[in-house]
Amino acid sequence: MIFIILVIFYFIILILLGFFAHKKTKKTPEDYFLANRTFGPFILFFTLAATNFSAFTFLGFAGKAYSSGFGQYGIMGFGTGIMALMFYVIGRKVWKLGKEKHYITPPELIGDRFNSISLRLLFMIVMVIFTIPYLATQAIGAGLLIQYMTDISWQIGAIVTMFVIMFYVLSGGMKGSGWTDVLQGLIMIIAMSVAVVFVAINLGGFEAANNAAYIVNPELFTRPGGGEYFLPQIWFSFMLLWIFADPMFPQIFSRFYTAKDEKSLKMSMVLYPIVVSFLFLFPVLIGVWAHGAGIEVAVGSEDMVLPMMVATYTPSFIFAFVMVGALAALMSTADSQLLSLSTMLSRDIPINKKKISEIMFGKILIIILSFFAVLFVIGGYDPNVGIMGTLVSTTFSGLAVLCPTTIAALYWKNATKYGCISSIIFGEISVFLFQFKLLPTSGFLSAIWGILIAIIVLIIVSYLTLPKR
């Protein structure tokens, strides 16, 4: 009951923020889709963080830590922290070019740099294809949480959550998304902190909780960890993967355009590792502690270990608040994905939109995409794979392949459109071949091979197709 009241209260605040953002948004594409490039350090940092931290952060981390141990903290914490260097490498240039040339979407910049509609479309298609499953994953997470907390079925929970997201994104655009991200970011940080403190106290203290888990399952405290998951190749792969994959999320890439100035980007870069250093440790601790606490989780349901632990070891109002925090993590990612997908589809597809404004077209797409995500939820979810498995096998690898093209577009004057197109196509094909073990991975993630092949193809084809001077 407390959870339902908190969720209703939380949803009302989100809708009000969306409504308020609507009042403050002018009817220009730049204002609706990019908040007129006015996000200062505070909003930019929170929106970059809340957008990136998702269902995966709350539920997936704890689930993976439950099965494989503390190694999960290493690959996520440091890997995401050092990724923030890309706020300089990619973010700064994207922000500058966006301001000068009024770019709104990522494919717009890439296509314009090489004067190629084909490359722009290809870049957009890859971003869209690999983001839709990720959007659906957020909705699935929300549905599962609501089902766990109430008698409402997970499908209904997912649909209601998507509807609320759709409403405040529709009305508030990027301002709505950014402002709600600040609220959602704060809720998730406070909720995770409160959760870990209460669980630790009720397990007899921090050290006692660790010791109890160590006695039951000591391999979780070493690497390669449970199921020998964290082999050196996997460790290396993940440390590198986030650097290439995270900035290629369209919702992160688009946010580089929204920065008010370079100071905002700098501040976000410095604060990012600080937040992940502790925030990512908390769900991992709870996941590992579940062993010492005697919590039994069925195979395939590891992602529910965090709700189970918090339900068992915290008072009911804290439990309800923590679950709202998890919901905030899911929703802050989903709203940004929804907006960035609709922005790309409304702007990057070369169709005649004379009879309808670009903003209206974007809004129609937000509605269509929301329904599409719901259909994906109902029709395509395989719980045996888990959030981690679903995401790593599709979104991260597929998007990371775009990074070499982006860096070449920003820095390498000898890069050609043919080099970039080939790089993306061969990169994606190789990800597929390695993912399904048609080629040997030697223990590395398929994404690493995809990135490597994308770089090699980009260089070779660019030199082969370089115009003669």
Binding site: I82, F206, N210, N211, F221, P232, S277, F278, L281
Partner: protein, 78 residues
């Protein structure tokens, strides 16, 4: 190095201005591949293995490195 020679270098090649930052970030990345800690959970502090603290402080140090980078390199870039 002459400006002409500098222009011939690949875009990713470290220059005199950024070489320290270049190697610092590569060094931090290498430090994150702490394979020497594999198979061990000792010593433990408050029940947590040493290598977890190591990664935590490495992440915090990365933030410090970013602060230095943004103050002394990024700010001076045109």
């Amino acid at each position: 190095m002459e400006e002409k020679e500098l222009k011939k270098l690949p875009f990713w090649f470290p220059t005199k201005r950024n070489v320290i930052w270049y190697f610092l970030f590569v060094f931090l990345f290498i430090l994150s591949l702490d394979f020497w800690n594999w198979g061990s959970s000792d010593p433990m502090l408050f029940g947590l293995p040493f290598w977890v603290y190591y990664l935590l402080f490495l992440t915090l140090f990365t933030s410090l490195a970013f602060y230095g980078f943004s103050k002394y390199y990024w700010s001076k870039e045109k």
